[in-house]
Amino acid sequence: MLSVKDLSVIFQTRRGVVDAVRGVSFEVAKGEILGIVGESGSGKSVTSYALMRILDAGGMIKAGEATYSGIDLRRAAERDMRDIRGREISMIFQNPRAALNPIRKVGHQIEDVLHQHARATRQDARAKAIAAMEAVKIKDAEQRYNAYPFELSGGMCQRIVCAIALACDPRLLIADEPTTGLDITTQKAVMDLVRDLIRERAMSSILITHDLGLAAQYCDRLIVMKDGLIVEQGDPVQIFSRPQHPYSRKLVDATPRAGATVRDLLPADIRAPEPQIVASDKPLVEVRDLVKTYAGKSGAVHAVKGISFTVNQGQCVGLVGESGCGKSTTSEILVRLMDATSGEVFFDGEDIAQTPARGFARDPRRADIQMVFQDATDSLNPRHTARQAIAEPLRRLGRMRGAALGTRIEELAGLVGLPLPLLDRFPHQLSGGQKARVGIARAVALDPKFLILDEPTAALDVSIQAVVLNLLVDLRAKLGLSYLFVSHDLHVVRLLCDYVIVMKDGLIVEEGLAHHVMSDPQNPYTKSLIAAAPKPPERATPKDQLEAIDAQHATLHDKRAS
């Protein structure tokens, strides 16, 4: 029903013309869910905007054809396009809260679409809007009708966006990263809903996502995009078990999944054996009855409600939970950037919670407890070079100067795999992975004993996440570090951690050895977390894999030969 041929999209920017999409061809059949997968900058979203002709200023379709049920989408008059949008082809977007008009009642926003496509009259618009809301499984639709987006949760906002998109019974739904920015359990609820609606109404759909696992779970067919080109398309199971293109192989490898080790995330040719780390059972950090209460605008906020746990020397403990569960607050207190309301934090047997956070900069244990921050971009001063960033702790706490400082910085750069010439670059001149390396180098500069990793890979593309996770594993083995790994993603935590703690609403709901918790969760919340994570198809047997690798080597040889 949708057919795209050699579609090219360019953007006129200040630095000249950028080819965002460079000739892609694909088809969407009736009733099919097509997944378009790629990392940031692959052109996957731009493709869909081009189909809808809602490209941002400066963007235009340079070449190619896009036909929807016989209509030429590229040449259709703007007025005809308006009739197609919303009635024939609809879209839902990432970050649903921002995708809704903040100062208009959600019910009215649905009515706007109904009116536009003459699906409702003044008299029945309200009833039809409420029906559209009920269709996306919104309870109390009557009351929600009068709500503003800011009064609704992220998941509820995404349902409203769905209601707007589906109000006029379109036949094709384009979902652009519909779950990005949502918690993992909400993510699953939204995706299940979207899939059910599509199936019920016999619609077609394009699901655009960076998450190969998610796409594989929900789509009939996958397209893998890279740098504006389609590198591979096919059946999800086939792509997962026998990826043909090296890039899709890399993506498949890097997607965290059941049964894979952290080394499995890397491309096969650079996998080194995983270091064996034996954690001692001597406690390094002991947290006892930790409580943190803020004074919020509408009463006290109980962020952490009395938790206790232990991190042993050399151990890597995972702290898992969804946004607002108190995991970030806990890590801020442990790293002594925040004071606890009550409770003790023993480090090497001494209660460091007694030393106020403000004075901890002068504490002799400052160098022993360090942190890798969530967003590598935000954690580097835009006006300091990588060298200056790494030098900061060495100068302040290490009292290093001159040649010794330079040597140590270069040593650290080598340790984290940052090429020396990049040391004199500013953060905006570095890629996401390079910035992450700088952040890690800075954190380990003073040989800390305890390192808190606060979602260190959350902002990274999946292939770079794989590299950074492996770097962290190597560093732990080399430097004998103890980690507290804070994350929302159980699958990622499982790769690194021996022991897992699951938090919800400021309390620990479950803890235990990582493989126990993953394979046999006891708490219903843990179960729902594990169930909500996307389940990519099972990997092919190792034998198949080997064959695939052989085949790839063979093609490489062929290429070199020719």
Partner: protein
């Protein structure tokens, strides 16, 4: 409904917030009257005062008492509407200001209305057609507008339209002497003349008003147009506009119901600053056009060192501005449903 109680609370909170500001304004006004270098009594007694009359003034004004006591007296006088005695007119300052306030308000409000009805469409057009002549015009108007000293624009307009073209009446006050001023109802000549049905006078008053109002409007137009354009650009690049477009909503709905209403919020916020500029520039424009408002009153008082009149003027202007800001904020509360709720 559900939403009404936090919103009502927000409105009450906003009203309550005005109280410390008013107190602050009164304190600063008081300090200004007492900060006169040397002996305030000498100033308030006037230029021709001798030792005895200075001493008399000192005791009469309570300047021999400690500062906190003086403040209490000052506030007491204020509450009775007593701003002191004007040396030059011999009347109470409050009476003088009350007589002249309508003239200033008529000028300022006309100018603001003129500015808003020109600047907002200009800003919207510039934002929706970036790179076209409207956009360039907007940019020129904005940059030139904030660079024009109001007093100079006024003089230039007088030269062009009065001296060269001869279209405008002589720049002396609200009404040419050939007309009788309309009966005092609101004090706004345009309204009063219309109420009397005296269209001859109405035209006369309008003619006098055009140049000063245009001068003031030119100055206030720039910040409004700039903010409208910027806010409109921000709104148009928001995610929810993309949702609206992807749902096939027509251009006018996207532009006005979605983008413009959101863009209005920051514009309304800027209006406060614009009022501040307008009230300040008002003083200069009144002087240029010999407009008998409170601004020219203050300037005349300054020349003869009539400090009670000047300080009274400052206080009245500040209170006027506090009220205007309050109105703006309440307006904002009316259009933004998020007021009264914590972010997220």
């Amino acid at each position: 409904m559900l939403a009404s109680s936090p919103r009502l609370r927000a409105v009450l909170m906003r009203l309550a917030q005005a109280i410390p500001v008013v107190i602050g304004v009164v304190v600063i006004s008081f300090l200004l009257t007492r900060a006169l270098p040397g002996d305030p009594a000498v100033y308030f007694a006037g230029v021709a005062a001798d030792e005895a009359s200075i001493e008399q003034t000192r005791v009469a004004m309570g300047l021999d008492k400690p500062l906190p006591v003086q403040f209490v007296h000052y506030v007491g006088d204020l509450l009775q509407g007593d701003l002191g005695q004007s040396l030059s007119s011999g009347r109470p300052v409050a009476t003088d200001l009350a007589n002249r306030l309508p003239a200033s308000l008529e000028l300022t409000l006309t100018a603001l209305i003129l500015a808003v009805i020109t600047a907002v469409p200009l800003g919207v057009l510039a934002a929706t057609r970036p790179g076209t002549w409207v956009d360039h015009l907007c940019r020129v108007v904005v940059t030139a507008g904030v660079s024009l000293p109001t007093f100079f624009t006024g003089i230039l307009l007088i030269y062009i339209f009065y001296y060269l073209a001869g279209i405008a009446p002589s720049p002396l006050g609200r009404l040419d002497f050939i007309y009788l001023s309309p009966d005092h109802v609101t004090g706004f000549y345009l309204i009063d003349a219309a109420l009397m049905g005296d269209w001859e006078t109405w035209r006369g008053a309008a003619k006098q008003l055009v140049l000063p109002a245009a001068t003031l409007a030119l100055f206030t137009l720039a910040p409004i147009a700039r903010m409208t354009r910027a806010a409109m650009l921000t709104a148009l690049s928001s995610d929810f506009i993309r949702t609206a477009r992807a749902a096939g909503l027509s251009k006018s709905v996207v532009l006005y119901r979605y983008a413009f209403r959101n863009a209005l919020l920051p514009v309304v916020t800027t209006l406060g600053m614009v009022f501040s500029f307008a009230l300040g520039a008002n003083v200069l424009v009144e002087k240029v056009f010999a407009w008998p408002g409170i601004g020219s009153y203050a300037v005349e008082a300054l020349v003869v060192s009539d400090y009670a009149a000047v300080q009274g003027f400052v206080l009245v202007m500040a209170l006027l501005f506090v009220v205007l800001n309050l109105v703006i904020d309440l307006l904002y509360t009316a259009i933004d449903p998020r007021i009264g709720f914590e972010a997220r």
